[in-house]
Every structure is written in C-alpha cells, then in structure tokens.
Symmetry: D2
Subunit: 156 residues, 4 copies
C-alpha cells in the first residue's frame, strides 16, 4: 500500500486536536517541512512519558533518534488542528521504528507520513540497552503489520 | 494587582488543552522562555483568523508586533497541556495591546503572563491603518479593564 | 536615549555573522517576533558557556529567565546575517539584566532591542544563589551605564 | 560508501561557522533531531536565494519539499558552530534531490547526513514546472556522483 493511502485505522494511538502554531507556517503560508518532525517527536515522547513511565530527566534509559524520514502529500496551514497518529512498525531488541500519520481534524486524507527510529541507550553512558519493562509493554501495544519492501517487490 | 495573581476570570478568550511539544523543553527540562512567545502569537492569530476573518496571506491589513514582554512565575514541562487565555488591555486607533495568561490545564496558578502590541498596517506598503470592521469588532469583545500603572502608583 | 538610536558602540560583546534560518521567516516574509528571543538566549548563553565556564548540564548554578521584553524597529528577512550585541545593564546579587541589540551585518540601524533578566539558582533545588566567581567576573566585563527611567523622567 | 564516512570533499557548497542556538539543545543536552531539518532548509534556501536569484515571496516558481530524511551519527551540542555542506545527487526535470552533510567546525567526522527533495512548482497554482534558468544553472554546479543503491547492491 502506498503511504499516501494511509487511514486513521492504520494506527494505534492518537493525539487529537493538536493545535498548529503561527510560527509553524513558513513564508509560503503552510506548515514548514521541518516542523513535522517536531510533531513526530511530540506524539512519540508524549506516549512514552504518559503511557510507558519514561521520565526523560531521570529514567536510566532514553531513546535517541538515529534515523527519520517524512513524505509530504498535502499542505497544512495554521490555524488547522491535527490528529497525530502513531504505530510501531518494528520492535527490535534495543531499537524501535515508529510510523506517524498526520491528519487534519475532520478530514480523511493523510497529509504526511513519517518514520522515526529510536535506539534506547543508558542515559549516562549512551550505550545501547535492551528495551524492557513498561517501555516494551507500551510499545508492543502499538505494533502493526506493514507490508515490507520485499513483499511489495515480490508483487511487482 | 500583581501579574502573578492573574486568574482565568481575568481573560475573555481561551485556547484550551494546548499541547506542549517535546522540543519546547530546553536542556533544563522545562519549556524554554522564548517558546512562550510562540504561544502568545498562536492564541492571538488563532483568534484573529477564526473570529475576525483575518486571512494573513490575503487580507489588506495585517498586524505587526512592535513590542512584547513576558513574566515567568512557574515552570512548565512537556508533556503538559495548557490553557492559553487572552484579553485586550488597550485598543487604540491602529494598535492593540494584548495580555496573555498561561495556565496548566487543571491547575489554578498562572505560569506566565505576556504582553504583546500589534500595529495594524497595509499588507503591501506596511503603513499604519485604522483598525476597523470585523477586526475591531472582534477585538472589542476581548477588552478588559486593568488597573493602570498610575492607579497602582496612587494607591501606594 | 531612545532604544531605536542604539549603536554597536553601546554594547560590549558581539556574536557576528549570525545566520538567520529559513524557518525564522513567518508568512509575512520576515523574521517572526518570537524568534528574536531565541537570538537573545543564544548570545547570552554562548557568552556564559564560552567566557564564564558555565556548563549548563553540570554547573551547580544556572540562570533562569524571569522576565524578557523586546522592541522591534526594522524587519529582518532570511537569508540576512546578523550581528548580535550584548551588554549588562544591571548586575545584582543574584540577578542580572541584559540588553541585546540586533543589527544586520553591514548596516547601522538597530533592528530590535531586547531586555532579558536571569536569576541565578541552584541547578538542583532552583533556589536563588549569589552570582559569584567566573560568572560574576564575566558579567562585570559587559556592564554599561544606561540612563535610568528616573533620569529620563527627571529630564522631561 | 556508507553515509557515516562522508567527508567535506563529498560536497560542493558550504555554509561555514553556522551558529547553533540555545534552544536547539533539547532536554538530553544535545541538538534535537528535528532541528537538523531546519539546518537543511537553511543551507538549501540560502543557496537558492543568494546564488540562484530565487526570491521566495516574488519568484514565479518555488521549491516545495516532498520528501526528507536524516541519519544521525554523532551528537552536537550548543554552542558548537557547524559547517553545513551541500550537494545535488539528482537533478530531474522538475525535482531535485539534495544531500546535506553536517560537520562541527574544526572536526572531521560527519555528524549527520540528510536528504531532501524539492519539487519546483508555480508559486500561484502549485503545479510542477520545469527547473530552468538560473536555478538550473545554480543547481548543476552542485551535482555530484553518488553510488546508487543498485551499484551498492551489485557489489555485495
């Protein structure tokens, strides 16, 4: 399935009625491409802190971003409110790959789809650690099946 | 009255459940001081666009910020949600002074109080113009009486 | 002296050729008012970290912003480069008031003047502490005399 | 060649001594992942406006971002200054793919490598247009050969 066909039903967790900001719009009058990554960071960390007991300033393990990407399908303009949608597409031993969908509140077509990879590390030494406990339990609840690239290739 | 005693009842318009963002927190683990001005800009422009028919990219008149200030009373930390509160403390011929209160959702003590002055200008030539029509009508609905500095001085 | 007459000679420390960013411009095609506070934060903390041995993540004392303000005189547009200029207008026991001037590289007229108050606190308990050692020595080097409000009033 | 082995010699245009900002650091004390995209936007648009005569508010054609990605190899901390490096890895009829390298001033190891795709459109109707004139000439000067994914696969 193409990313631009994503629906809300392809995701597991939502941050609804998320208010865009005046300064999100750039001089072309729409939300600047870099701002979407602030949205991705927000829904991921809001989930980790409110649902997985992560306390960024005190937790022994934290998630560091090692890769991210975004595809943009439809422009958004402040003062739109958004429904941010989150899924986990891969949960490894110490890394997790998230997919984020950006929808305008009240509209169906997805505006952008992002991918974001966290590696969990010791907050002190920053060496990779296994994802365990409440964080693993929390992330497992967001896991979805996505057609892999190989699957897509095999269907060509 | 001291600014730090501001209550929600001192304001006329609200943007509730405003989601802070991961990147709002600076390395001291709380919302960075500069970020509050993004909040102020957001509630003011959200009011102007949704209640006063301002269309920033097409309106003949736009508001430019010529002065702003903020006092900070209590730190805020992502992932808190906020109730932003707006009032107009002075409505002149071509300029308007806003006051913004920042409250955490579910808490009573004000976290910060901002002041923000817009001068309305022609979007093309950027010369000051009189505030008229829907914008004046909209702003009048937010006007509140605030003790002036002279009043405060006279009571000393 | 009016703020809009400030010259580079009214300041003591400079961060020259400071590059504006694409996302600094808002949809009116000029640097957004809130962005100036990011500039103020940057020159102040760049001075504290490079000249006063402040290490934000480890220093026992840190500066918290309790008040800030800005006056805007001339718009700036990305991709301009700026000369940020810093002075200390008041150095108290535990607080310091900075003034920041924003100039475009190669131009003389000041674009904006900001004021910013830091209270130094224990990084752990966040209680005010006396400004001492390298931080006081560093800040003293930036102190300038500014006409006080009382002086200005007495000359009316 | 792996992205993390990129050197300054792999790029064609530089924005040196680029000052990071206080608010770029997140609560983990390093530059937030989303901020890198602001850097990418800045070097690309600084090149387009200063070398290719693009005037964002008035040019008939503008570049819209349709895809971006970033890999992160080494953390950066404010107040570091950066050398941003730019190349064009694909120049199509109406789209261009940039690669951006982020280096700390005075250090050799690349900190992050970004990819960014602009589609040029009419600024009015936002329909794709051919990249022509000074913009094409300017972009051609940044073109570099990069091993394609197929090449890499064939060498395995």
């Amino acid at each position: 399935m193409e990313l631009k066909a994503r629906l809300r039903t392809h995701y597991k967790y939502f941050l609804n009625n998320f208010q865009t900001r005046w300064s999100d719009n750039d001089q072309y009058g729409h939300v600047n491409n870099a701002i979407y990554y602030h949205y991705y960071d927000t829904i991921i960390n809001q989930y980790l802190t409110t649902r997985c007991s992560l306390i960024p300033t005190r937790s022994p393990h934290i998630g560091l971003c090692v890769h991210s990407s975004s595809d943009y399908f439809r422009p958004i303009e402040f003062p739109a409110t958004l429904d941010l949608a989150l899924a986990v597409t891969k949960l490894g031993k110490s890394s997790v790959t998230y997919e984020i969908g950006v929808f305008e509140t009240g509209k169906e077509d997805v505006c952008a789809v992002g991918s974001f990879v966290h590696v969990f590390v010791e907050s002190a030494g920053r060496r990779p650690v296994a994802i365990e406990g409440e964080i693993r339990t929390g992330l497992q609840q967001l896991v979805v099946e996505r057609e892999s690239d190989e699957d897509k290739a095999s269907k060509l």
